[in-house]
Structures are given as C-alpha cells and as structure tokens.
C-alpha cells in the first residue's frame, strides 16, 4: 500500500514540475508588460522535443548517450526521498539528497566534454566550479539547521516549525544556493544562449530531441525539489492529518501554494537584477556562506 502511495506522489510531483518554470516565465513576462506564453508552455516544449528526432555528434561516446538517463534518474531517485504526503526517509537524509544531485551533475558535465565542442567544456567547467562553491554553503546551512532540529533527516525538517534566526539565515543562504543550482539570475540566465554567459545551457547545447527533453525534465525536477526543501524549512506543512479526500486536497493546496509563492518571488527577483560575471560568483557565495555562518552562530546560542 505504502509503495503505491510513494509512486503516486513521485508521479504527481513529476507531472507538476514543469509548471513551476512556466509560472516563473509567465510572471516575469507580465512584470515586463508582455503577454507571455501560457504557463503550460514547458509541457508543449517537452511534447515537441519528444516527437522530434535527435542528432547525436559523431564524436560522442556512450557517456553522452547515457548521461540524460542518469541525470533524470538521479533526480527521480532524489524525488523518492522528498517528504510529501507520504514520507520516505529510510533511504537517506538531506546530505544523501545533495550527493544524489552530484551524481546527475557529474555525468552531465562529462557529457558536456564528450562532443569535443568548446561550449560543452566551458559549461562543464563552470557548472563544476559553481557547484563546488555551492556545496559548502548547503552543508553549513544544513549543519546549522540540524543543530536546531537535532537531525539531518528530511522528515524532521518538515515536521517542526521554529521561527528563529537560524532558520531565517539558513533559508536565506539556501535561497541563494537555489538561484545558482536552478540556473537563475544572477548566476546563470535561462533566457539566453549567449556563449559567453551560459552555463547550464552550454552543457546541453549538443543535445536534441528526446534526450534534451529528459535533461529539461531533470532540470525542472531539480528546481521543484529545491523549492520543496526550502518551503519545508520556512513553512513546514508536515503530513496530512488523514487520508480523507478533502483533507488531502486542502493539504495539497497548501503544499503547492508555498511553492507557487516562492516561484513568484523568484520571478520578481529575476526581473530586477542583472547577471553577474562568472568570477564575481565567488563574492555571491562568500555572502551566502556568511549568512550560513550567522545561522550557525545563532544556533550556538539557540536563537
């Protein structure tokens, strides 16, 4: 029974993931006084990609062919760990989730190098650079939170709500990390294909058709997982009181509502700031790690 619920939850989240990006793009367009595409545009894009043929570089090896499957596979595996209306915590904790993200990133970065294109290599180098700077921030923020909650378990974060300096500061630090991890401004820009600035887009430049669809889907999933984790820290909803239909519905509305609010917030942020030069990203992460240190300091005094 439990397995069915877990699978159901994973499929529902998988289905809803592209919607977040659609929403952010729509809000951004409206803020710029444009009509904008429908919020279902990501689904249309995926549909288009899945019905097109692919071109695979003659230079590519099996790494290039396998990477999209591993990228999406690792995100799906991570999705199993994310607490929703059922909690699946016994496979791993918050740290394991971060390591799982590492699996997908590792293969995508290799795939970027595989086609012998300078863009791909540039993208992998930058992606690994940013990820390696983001990692200490993530771990320090979780460290501070775990001091307060007593565990790095994901379900603990979702059940206890403590409005505290630690919680706020580490949420702020994680928020900055999320901007970087989901290729948002000011670290990366999803709207451009300019060689000099793109990071994530450069890695999958050589992909097309269904494999590109898989990579895009994995990016949507990663974004959704990060949003859920952050929402769980700021405003945890716990598990639904019972599995009665109306209670589940209300719970689901609250659960997704938080994520939509977060998306709108990011849309506002993205239209109001400019992209940073790549090497300024170190300053960005220095600021984030300072926030995480504040979180740790305040956790020491139980603030």
């Amino acid at each position: 029974m439990n397995i069915i619920f877990i699978l159901l939850q994973v499929f529902l989240l998988l289905a809803v993931a592209p919607l977040i990006s659609g929403l952010i793009t729509k809000v951004k367009n409206n803020l710029r006084m444009r009509q904008g595409a429908s919020i279902f545009q990501p689904y249309y894009n995926l549909g288009k990609l899945f019905s097109k043929g692919e071109v695979i570089s003659v230079n590519a090896s099996w790494i290039f062919r396998a990477a999209p499957f591993i990228a999406l596979g690792s995100m799906l595996a991570a999705l199993f760990l994310v607490p929703g209306f059922v909690s699946v915590e016994y496979a791993g904790d918050f740290l394991v989730l971060i390591f799982l993200f590492g699996l997908g990133r590792f293969f995508l970065s290799l795939a970027g190098l595989d086609t012998a294109s300078a863009f791909g290599g540039m993208g992998s180098s930058r992606e690994m650079f940013i990820a390696s700077l983001a990692e200490p921030v993530i771990f320090l923020a979780i460290f501070a939170l775990s001091l307060q909650y007593g565990s790095t378990s994901l379900s603990v974060l979702n059940n206890t709500h403590l409005l505290s300096v630690t919680g706020l500061a580490s949420s702020a630090a994680l928020f900055m990390v999320i901007l970087a991890e989901t290729s948002r401004l000011p670290v990366d820009n999803q709207e451009t294909h300019l060689e000099l600035t793109m990071i994530h887009e450069a890695i999958d430049l050589e992909y097309s058709g269904r494999r590109l669809g898989l990579i895009e889907l994995s990016a949507y999933l990663k974004q959704l997982i990060w949003f859920i984790l952050l929402a769980n820290i700021i405003f945890p909803v716990g598990l639904p009181a019972s599995f009665a239909a109306w209670q589940l519905l209300i719970w689901a509305l609250v659960f997704m509502g938080r994520i939509f609010i977060l998306s709108i917030l990011i849309a506002f942020l993205e239209v109001s700031i400019a992209k940073m030069r790549l090497l300024r990203v170190t300053d960005f992460f220095t600021f984030a790690i300072s926030l995480a240190l504040i979180a740790l300091g305040s956790a020491m005094f139980r603030l």
Binding site: V55, I70, G121, F143, S146, E206
Partner: protein, 605 residues
C-alpha cells in the same frame, strides 16, 4: 625473538594491504611484460614482494625496535621502486626528495620511541603501554608531537606532503597504487597504534591540532590536484586530500574521546577507517588506470590525451568507476565514508557546547568544499583524458591493454561497489576495531541495516540504506528509459558537432585541462600564486613574429618553507667547508684537539 601481533587493528591493516596488493600483482603481469627487460621484471617482482612483506611486518611487529627496522626497510624498498625507471631524469630527483623526507620523518620517530623505551625500560609494545600511563604530562605532549611529525611525513600530511607528488607518480604504476593506496596508510596505523592505543589520548588540543592539519591537507591537496595536468601527479595530490579526510575522522575521534563522548569517538574512528579502506581501493584502481593510459600513450600529460574511451573501453570504464567513487557519487564506497565523516561532524556538533560547535561546523564546511572540488577535479581527470577527440597522435594510436591488467582493475572496480553496498556490515566490523583501539565496550551501539543509532549520547536516528538507495537509482534510471521509449518512435542521426558555421571542427577546438581549471585557478589565486608570462617578438610595429604565452602556478610550500630551508642548509654547509682546507697538518691538529678535549671531558665528568 620476534613475536608478531594479530589483534583486530593489525588484522584490519593486513586485510587492506592484501586488498590492493593482489589486484596490483595481477595487473603487473601484463604491465611489466610490455616495457621492461627480463632482468628488470625479476627485479620488479623481488622488490614488490619485499615491499608487501615489509608493510605486513610494519603492521604486525610488537616491538618498537623491530618496528623501526621494518619501517626503514619499507622506506628503502619503496625508494628503490621510486627510482626503478632510472632512465627518467625525474626519477632520480624524486627519489632524492623522497629519501630525504622519509628519513627526516624516521628521525622524529626514533626520538619518540627512544624517549618511550627509555621510560619503560623495554621495547615491547605492552611494556610501553603500561609505562605510558605513569608518564608525566609534558613528556606525553612531546612524544605526541614527535610521532605526529614522524608519521605525518609518511602519510603526506600538509605541510610535510612535499615528497608525495614527486615520488608516487614516478614509480611503476602498480607500485604507485600500492604506495598511495597502502603505504601511506601504515602511517595511520602508526598513529592509531602509538598515539591512541599505547600513549593514550591525554589532551584535547591533540585532536584539534590533527583536525586543523587534516583540514589544510584536504584543501591544499585538492586545489593542487585541480590545476595539475600530469595525470599521476594529480592522483598523488588527491592522495594528500584523502589522507586529510582520513585524518579528519581520526582527529575527531581523539577530540570526542577527550570530551568523554566515547561512542562518538568510536564512530568517528570507524568512519576514518572506512575512508582508509575505500581510498586504498579507489586510489589503487585510479593509479592502475593511469598506468594503463601511460602505457598506451607514453605520456602522463592530460593535455595530450582525449578520446581514449573509444580505443580503451575497459580502462575507461574502470577509471570512471574509480573517479565516481573518489568524487563521492552514490552508491559507491567513497560516498558512504564521506557521508559517515560528515555525520560524525554533525552528531558531534550536536553534543558539544559553545565555540566547539562553530569549530566542528567549519570542519564540516572544509570537508564539503573538498568534496565539491574533488568532483570537479575528477570530471576534469576523466573527461579530458578519455572523452572528446584525441588531441595528439599519441592518444590516437593508443591500444587497449592486456588481459591481466584489465582483470586487476576490474577486481578493484567491483570492490568499490561492494564496499558501497555492504556499508551496514562493514561499519559493524569497523566499529569493533575502533572499539578495540579505544578499549571501549561497544555492545550498546546499535547499527541497523538502514539506520545508525548512537545511543545513549545521541538519541537521534540517521538514515542511510545504501542498497535501498542503489535500488532507487536503478529503478529511476529504468523508469527514465521507459519514459524515453514511450510513444511513437523517432529517428536518430549521427552528425558533426555544431561548429558555428566554421567548416572544420577538430581537436584544437576542444576545451583544455588548463581551460577547465581556469575558474578555480582564479578563485584560489591567492594560494596558488598563478602567474603568466607573455613574450612577443616583433618584425615591425604591426607584425608579431612569435608569441610565447606561459601560465603556471607556484607552490607556496616550496617557495616559503622548503626553499629557505634548503638554502639555509646549503649555506651552513658552505660555512662549514672552511674547516676542510685539505691540508693534512690541519687535520692532524683537529685530531689532536679532539683527543685533548675528550681527555678533559673524561676527567671532569
């Protein structure tokens, strides 16, 4: 009469030695046959067995005097192996650095052992142990420092790591894998045996000092590895990093033990031992892989490789597994031990108070940053060596290696997976060993198949079930494949990489190793002291005839610690040379003066 010791600690290290030595021996059958003459092959086997035997003796003897002798034998045999390819000019200088550094380390060990033996009146471990309990506090601190320097030199702990990136890559590859995989671990054995078991942990700052040095090793090792373009040297620097991670666990265990958190101490030491055996496996594997690449291409320079995945599918698959393991990618073994070490930090910070929380937090951050950089480093190492197009004809003409070499690597590749999946069983065994090292009863520690409960100090449960996680990943990937094939079939064509309309894309357009590490070089420029030189020769104002661009990094340690030290020694030697005038009369005068002095000395005392 030499008596050997087979307690759990020794048995563990014997296990680790065989774990790497057997695959390395199998590998060397094919490796040696290709490049060496018959006489050299026999010599290589003799030295190999002598090396393994000396390491086995180091971890089993029960007498410090004998320990020093076998330790020295191990150092000397490994020196001969470092200079084995004596036709390389680098081998001789690498051997020199190695033999000097290792003897400096041994000198400190001799001093420590002499003090201990003098105090105990015996060389036996058991006698030393009982004597150390009554030893004055200051003397213990002194011995700790001496032992740390002595064993730290062998382990390659920063700032004593200087020999490691020269010596390890220079030996034949199956020996490199033994040196990096196992030999430096004998130093960890020494520290556990002599500091924890015999000397007894007696001050908190011991743990803190080890943690600080370990953190420095982690970062220094991985940053140098990132900017390195010699494949084997990159692996050697990464050994410095991994020794740092092992020392982090070790330092934590001493730290917790002194704070009275005995279960956490046992847990941290178990995590450290776990990383030790894991590092032995995957670093052994990576060095064997690098050796295969070296044999196939004749170069160790990453910039000259590329595209090897197509001609060397076996080597590349094994190297990929090793790279994933060392980059802590689940569900392989490196991930498990790194997760355990991080958990040791977390659980510890939960129990300690005040500033120590902050200290542990920063320790965890160092480990996290190291992990992130290691992933980047091994994306570079694998990606640029094996993927894309071959950059030179060396890489283009490479051939797959012989069967025994493949077999040796495949064993280790399989072990990375086994040691990841069997985490729950292995951690139970390791906890017994570390319980033995600290003489702590561990029967109250609970380790379920998928949860670790460190009662009663931390009531909280932490979950990690590696088999379940591996199952989830596998299931998800299968699901992804199903998603891929759902619906109408689409066609797939092979075509050139997009070239921006440029008519011919070749290997010169690829990203390079130096380009890959550029962001890191700039971000860590304060430490790497990277510089560039541009030299232009002009025909006229308008035309540049030739253009030389050079960019490189300088080693802080060589520049500011070792260079001044060597200069000082040389200056001192020059000064002393004045006494050696070469005239026989003066020498007779010296002898006469010495006899007079001795007579006076004998009379007075």
């Amino acid at each position: 009469m030499i008596s050997l010791l087979f307690d759990p600690l020794s048995l563990f290290f014997i296990f680790v030695i065989f774990l790497v030595a057997i695959p390395a021996a199998i590998y060397s059958i094919g490796y040696l046959k290709k490049d060496y003459s018959q006489g050299k092959i026999i010599l290589a086997w003799v030295l190999f067995f002598a090396f393994v035997l000396s390491m086995l003796l180091v971890v089993t003897v029960s007498n410090v005097f004998i320990f020093l002798i076998v330790w020295e034998v191990m150092s000397l045999v490994s020196y001969f192996l470092v200079v084995f390819d004596s036709t390389h000019e680098k081998s001789i200088s690498a051997g020199l650095i190695y033999v000097v550094m290792t003897h400096i380390g041994t000198a400190f060990l001799i001093a420590a052992f002499m003090i201990m033996a003098n105090f105990a009146g015996s060389f036996e471990f058991s006698a030393l142990k009982s004597a150390c309990q009554t030893m004055p506090y200051q003397l213990r601190n002194l011995i700790f420092i001496l032992l740390l320097i002595g064993f730290g030199t062998k382990a390659g702990l920063v700032p004593l790591h200087i020999w490691l990136p020269y010596a390890h890559p220079q030996a034949p590859s199956h020996i490199s894998s033994l040196m990096s995989g196992v030999m430096i671990k004998t130093a960890i054995y020494g520290i556990i045996r002599f500091i924890i078991l015999i000397l007894g942990v007696s001050a908190l700052w011991w743990g803190i000092l080890i943690l600080v040095l370990a953190g420095a090793s982690c970062l220094v090792g991985i940053i140098y590895a990132l900017v390195e373009r010699d494949l084997k040297k990159l692996l050697a620097y990464s050994s410095v990093e991994n020794i740092g991670i092992i020392f982090l666990g070790l330092g934590l265990s001493i730290f917790f033990f002194k704070l009275g958190m005995f279960y956490l101490a046992v847990f941290a030491l178990a995590a450290s031992l776990y990383h030790l055996v894991n590092h032995a496996i995957f670093k052994g594997l990576l060095f064997l892989g690098a050796g295969s690449v070296y044999q196939a291409t004749g170069t160790r320079d990453i910039e000259k490789m590329g595209g090897l995945i197509k001609v060397m599918p076996w080597t590349s698959a094994c190297f990929l597994v090793g790279a994933m393991a060392i980059a802590a990618i689940p569900p392989l073994n490196g991930f498990v031990s790194e997760w355990l070490t991080l958990q040791a930090f977390f659980l510890g910070a939960f129990s300690v108070s005040g500033g120590l929380k902050l200290f542990l937090g920063i320790g965890a951050v160092v480990l996290a940053l190291t992990g992130g950089l290691a992933a980047a480093c091994f994306v570079k190492a694998f990606g640029l060596t094996f993927l894309a197009l071959p950059r030179t004809s060396l890489a283009q003409e490479a051939k797959e290696i012989s069967l025994s070499m493949k077999f040796g690597m495949a064993i280790l590749a399989l072990l990375t997976l086994v040691f990841g999946l069997a985490a729950a069983v292995i951690i139970k065994v390791l906890v017994k060993i570390s319980g033995f090292a600290f003489s702590i009863d561990i029967s109250n520690m609970k380790f379920g198949l998928n949860n670790f409960v460190l009662s009663p100090e931390c009531g909280n449960q932490v979950y990690l079930s590696v088999p379940l996680l591996a199952g989830l990943i596998l299931f998800s990937v299968i699901l992804t494949v199903i998603i891929y094939f759902v619906g109408k079939k689409t066609k797939s064509v092979a075509y050139n990489t997009w070239d921006c309309g440029y008519y011919k894309l070749d290997a010169r357009n690829e990203y390079t190793a130096i380009g890959f590490s550029k962001p890191f070089r700039i971000a860590f420029s304060f430490f790497l002291m990277s510089y560039k030189k541009i030299q232009k020769t002009r025909d006229s104002f308008y035309h540049i005839k030739s253009f030389i661009y050079e960019t490189n990094t300088k080693s802080v340690f060589k520049e500011y610690i070792y260079k001044p030290l060597v200069n000082f020694v040389l200056r001192a030697a020059k000064f002393m040379r004045r006494a050696q005038a070469g005239s026989i009369h003066i020498y007779i005068g010296y002898i006469f003066a010495a006899i007079i002095l001795l007579l006076v000395f004998m009379n007075r005392f």
